[in-house]
Amino acid sequence: MIFSYEIILLLLLLITAAGAIMVKDLMSSVLLLGSYSFFLALVWAWSGAVDVAFVEAVVGAGLATVLFLLTLFRTAPKDTRLRRPLPSLITLIVFPLVGVLLLYAASDLPGYRDPSSPASVHVSPTYLEQSYQDSHTLNVVTSVLMDYRSLDTMVETVVIFASGIACALLLRRHG
């Protein structure tokens, strides 16, 4: 019964992703991408990654859609209507091949929720056991992000800061 929810969500993901590529109007494409992010957030939440789902819903479905729409409003209507040429022969051959290779490689991945997978036996048990005694933080994701891996998060913040500066420098020049 639970399995069927997963199937429905994956079908919706595929439909919205294909729609975002195939639709002829960029405005509809942006809105379809927003709904794609929303369904992806549902998938993350269903898999137990609530923090990731939160970020996906807020950034993917909210902020990115607003930024795309503001960009589209600065363009002329003729720029947002697309004529899509048919894909070339190389695309039709290479991309299914890559997909088959990825599926072949995926058969070697550890099972879902496998307690003996390499990711679950390295440092994760230590973090899960020590997080509350070490830093009085119940949410282990937060304590890993902001305490154990704080330097990584600081550099991520530098990246966000730099992207804001770059946007300002590139777009505000022709005032």
Binding site: L70, H136, T137, T142, L145, F161, R172
Partner: protein, 150 residues
Amino acid sequence: MIRPHDSIIIQTLGRFIIPVVQIFGLYVLFFGQYGPGGGFVGGVILGTGMILSVLIFGHDASRSQYARNILHADGVGMLIYAGVGGLCMIGGGEFLNYADLEIPGLETASRRSLGIVLTQIGVALDVAVTAVSIVFSLSAEEIMENSIDG
């Protein structure tokens, strides 16, 4: 530039929704230690609330004053984050090891908890300012020049 929206429904709804969004953003920011959320998501929600006020009431409205003013805080979030790391070094430890924050009367775990809160505020400020700044870059060059010079 973005002019105020002339629909009375959108204006009234915006007046009601924007404070709720901001308070929810603060809740997500400070509740990140106990549930899903944290600095990044809280910052994006705070920034989105300000973007919403710019989109509804326009650049010049007094309700968008806050969004215009926060652009001057560009870099303050980074300063808070790296400053906490520097304070840890002053306390005699490693960079960003919050256990070395020099605060009397706090045990080690509480110091690390406090360090997490402070750095999360830094991340949230940085992300919110960046989101508002990108929206202003995309929509209003000439207004930006005036408000920064004046």
